[in-house]
Amino acid sequence: MIQVNNVNKSFGDLHVLHDFTAAFEAGKVNLIIGQSGQGKSVLAKCIVGLLEVDSGNILYDKRDFSKMNRRDRKKIRKEIGMLFQGSALFDSMTVEENIMFPLKMFTDMSKKEMLKRADFCLERVNLSGQNHLLPAECSGGMQKRVAIARAISMNPKYLFCDEPNSGLDPSTSILIDNLIKELTYEYDMTTVVITHDMNSVIEIGDHIVFIHTGRNWWQGTKEEIIETDNQEIIDFVYASKFMKNLKGKLS
């Protein structure tokens, strides 16, 4: 479980996060949703330690990450897998080398064991046999799946996904969403997904946090978000014609 308690973050005069508090449970897909510029990515970067919080704390299974020194943070980071918006694959390495990279750096596995693990992870994301491709030779959806394979190669306890569907077609988006959901349940991970995509909310959202003006504006389940009368959420959820029509049909 990840707990975010009263986190504040500013950049000069710009106060991005205001006393943000939320809890992300294990074995669930937790979504952070909200409009652009409301602080979703800043929050995610604060949680994983890419940005330092001004005040407040972040607890990984009751271990206070925000107060840890660099060495202790490293231990927690080995338990974190992250899928970046642009995949962030190392472009000088093949698909297989990308997946084996964290194993090379942090385990004493033999090369044979690492290759076996890479094959397993690739099979898990339906990319068997694509070991020797370079990231530039992969499509956007394939790159995301390789990034997921790399993220799970170390059996992480926590998985972060920053806009996993951006730039993907609807069917590939659903594929990625389902993969994240399956892996979360299979490995009992604490998964945090940052997204704009309402399809993802409906498909995989076990617990949803709506961030607005840097505050935890609302939280609940996917069923609750459809029925809420909170105006900011209504503006966000029913911004598209498709959702408006859907709402009309449902009502």
């Binding site: 890419l50 694959l89 990279f101 972060f160």
Partner: protein
């Protein structure tokens, strides 16, 4: 004020670059790759530049020797001295600041803007040490070899330029390059080279690592890396000359 902050940030970066590596074996492999990228791949340009540089030094020396009292072997002597003391270590390092420096800054800068550095950090890898240390070690190791090759080729270039135009005979030029030779001059040149190698790799990595924005900013970082590496090389050259030669 900005310069002071940047200098502080640069030295702060060096602290992390030289912190204990996670897995030495991975670093060894990366160092050999960098020796290939930074050193071996620069051999061509270093060779071409050195031959022509030596030829021009020899011709200019010959054209400026109006007095019949000056022996012809002076051409060889001056070609050797200027090549070893200044032209090979400094001019070739400035050229390498352009070639290697821009390469490093754009490589690291692109990794920054495409979140590859963030990915390393999230994994728990010390990204500065992983990315920069192998480049520094590779450059400090391989640059002296490049400069020694450059010294040799410059003298060869000078020799062919002078003998083919009959400005001096074979014997006179050879006597000149052997005359009053001091091993200390080569040591001085190599000490300078090691310092320049360190400056080129760390300054360029600094500009690449702290790139913010997108593709345009990577280009700007690359330009800044070359400009500041060159300025630092010239400053270091002045200081080292004062310290070692005087």
């Amino acid at each position: 004020m900005n310069y002071v902050v940047s200098i502080g940030k640069y030295f702060g970066m060096l602290r992390y670059v030289f912190s204990r590596p996670e897995r030495l074996k991975v670093y060894h492999t990366r160092t050999f790759t960098e020796i290939q990228t930074i050193g071996i791949n620069s051999l061509g340009i270093v060779a071409i530049l050195s031959v022509f540089m030596g030829a021009v030094i020899a011709l200019q020396t010959a054209s400026n020797m109006d007095s019949p009292l000056l022996p012809k072997y002076t051409i060889g002597y001056i070609t050797r001295s200027s090549t070893i003391l200044e032209f090979s270590p400094t001019i070739i390092s400035l050229i390498l600041a352009g070639k290697v420096g821009s390469n490093i800054a754009s490589e690291v800068g692109t990794m920054r803007v495409t979140e590859q550095i963030d990915a390393l950090e999230i994994m728990g890898v010390n990204s500065l040490s992983y990315l920069v240390l192998p480049k520094v070690v590779a450059a400090v190791f391989i640059f002296p070899f490049l400069i020694i090759i450059s010294m040799g080729l410059s003298i060869v270039g000078g020799y062919y330029a002078v003998t083919s135009t009959s400005l001096a005979s074979h014997e006179e030029f050879i006597y000149g390059i052997r005359a009053f030779f001091k091993v200390g001059d080569v040591v001085y040149a190599l000490v300078k080279t090691v310092c320049f190698a360190f400056i080129i790799t760390t300054v360029s990595s600094y500009f690449g690592y702290y790139t913010k924005g997108g593709a345009l900013d990577v280009g700007q970082s690359s330009t800044r890396a070359v400009v500041w590496s060159s300025i630092c090389i010239l400053l270091a050259n002045f200081v080292l000359t004062q310290l070692i030669l005087l």
